[in-house]
Subunit: 188 residues, 2 copies
Amino acid sequence: MTQVRPMRADARRNYERLLKVAAEAFAEHGENASLDDIAKRAGVGSGTLYRHFPTRQALLQAAYVGRVEAFGARADELARELPPGEALMAWLYELCVGTIQVRGMKALLGSAVTDGSTAALTACGTTVRGAAGRLIEAARAEGFLRADLEPIELLRLAHGVATASELADGQGTQIRRYLALLMEGLRP
Amino acid sequence: MTQVRPMRADARRNYERLLKVAAEAFAEHGENASLDDIAKRAGVGSGTLYRHFPTRQALLQAAYVGRVEAFGARADELARELPPGEALMAWLYELCVGTIQVRGMKALLGSAVTDGSTAALTACGTTVRGAAGRLIEAARAEGFLRADLEPIELLRLAHGVATASELADGQGTQIRRYLALLMEGLRP
DNA sequence: ACCTGAACACCGTTCAAGT
DNA sequence: ACCTGAACACCGTTCAAGT
């Protein structure tokens, strides 16, 4: 493993300010928020932004890792509170809500379940696939889910449900309905 | 009704060249193809492009109306050739393939089934909703489809299936599978 | 009536100069 | 080692001048 030397104090400060501002900017303007604007608002030169985050995806990912990991933790929480079928359903619902309502999240979660994704993105992908895998296994054991469905496939279909619901009214009012229709087709 | 005066010869020539070039450009670069580039390739000033097509959506729509109408005609063709359930399935399949493979089409079909769409876009929406409506009614009469599903909702869900399949491998190899899973959940 | 293309504002990205 | 910001290439959109 390559040891990561601690950042110089000013570098670390800039890094964190960039993340904070980026999260705000993506939330406000979506995944295409101006990078130049983010740098300016963080009080750094644009070169500094590129030094820390070479691509837009890298910044987007860094800005939202926390939220993605929260989804992972939430899966286990729901697994403790609810019976398997309901836990899976509740988690997918929350995931879809986040996909639509947290602007920028859709792009991130989308590429997290895309076939040829970069290694960097796989961090989010691993988290979310792991969480889904645990819920799915339990739901399957109870006969709520057919056997021939990979976790990543269910995540893609849920992403599709979020997309469909977004087309409906931009909010998430149809998520429950569309999710129920989908799950109906995924029974054993 | 407002009578539309015929265009001046040079205007009509430019209009058609723009459409032709735009269809190529969108197919090649997707819905965000450079408008400036389209104008240049069509041999007109950028102002001329804006005169004919005030927004990107207007150009996208004009460039692909033909294809959308072909989907409408194709629905009736399939209805004649196949039993209702299969006709609906086959049509949705072709629609999903188009959504993924014809770059730029996804944006257009998406906004055609979006809740608060502009009047201009509703042209595509009307065509595609009408076609879906006819197929759905027949499939429902034969007991292939639950009663509480609007045509536009099925179109949104199909759009979701296309999205999910796009995440899988960028091609359409998973469309049939995901569509089958969806339809399973839409039975009466 | 219609077209042209310069002009403006904006954005992403790179890199030489600076500390 | 890290930061800055000017510089470059590109894009969307408008509009005065031209036919």
